[in-house]
Assembly symmetry: C2
Homo-oligomer: 110 residues x 2
DNA sequence: TACGGTACAGCGCAAAGCGTAGTAGCTATG
DNA sequence: CATAGCTACTACGCTTTGCGCTGTACCGTA
């Protein structure tokens, strides 16, 4: 993986994870696979699990453990109000950045 | 600065710097100030200068030194063909990410 | 018993943003 | 001429984080 791609993804994992959990709860492995469907957002396990743990510890996610039919118990994560607020914040900043970069690459009007 | 913002900007500085230099050459301080006009992309000196040095060392930028009327000599940077190619690569990936995140946050069609 | 898929955890490294501070040239003010 | 302030760039070190690699545990199938 070219290094600049890894750098570009920094901080985006949080946004993506929160976005995936925006409507329905999900367990780690599920989040992993949902993101893998978009190959530009395909993160590894060692990337996603720590993020989930971090977000949970920061009060952004609530955890619920439930048995799995296929393996070890699953840890289901759900957005807390704090997490939802953070997601909104991040999306807001994300949109700002998009606008500014679009300006940079499109117009030379200044 | 909240930490997630710093993380979200990682890798974006390169893109922004390359984008600023897309059409006309500029010296470091100028790049700094052009980015500062968009406050969501306002990076500090300790962020931009190392990026310029890195990009130059990697052959993405060509450097030209010229005296300044106001202070120490300026280092003018200009995109090389390699740098232009990198910028296209990064913008392509950037667009992919935008699309995927838009999908994540908009539709629940899968 | 061995294998493969599921589900998660831990370790350690490298990259990069950024705060802080320092250097040096030029102009303006008193 | 001394001080301050703007310009332009450099250097150091901290912290966060993505990620490769490895390990563990549960379950079903052959």
């Amino acid at each position: 993986m070219r290094t600049w791609i890894a750098q570009m993804r920094k901080g985006l994992v949080e946004l993506c994870v929160l976005a995936v959990l925006r409507e329905r709860e999900a367990y780690g492995y599920e989040v992993l696979q949902r993101l893998a469907e978009a190959d530009s957002l395909a993160f590894g396990e060692s990337t996603v699990y720590p993020v989930l743990a971090r977000l949970a510890q920061d009060g952004m996610l609530r955890v619920r453990v439930a048995p799995s039919p296929n393996g070890p118990p699953r840890r289901y994560y759900r957005l807390t109000p704090l997490g939802a607020a953070r997601l909104r914040e991040m999306l807001s900043y994300w949109n700002e950045i998009q606008t500014e970069i679009a300006k940079l690459t499109k117009g030379d009007s200044e």
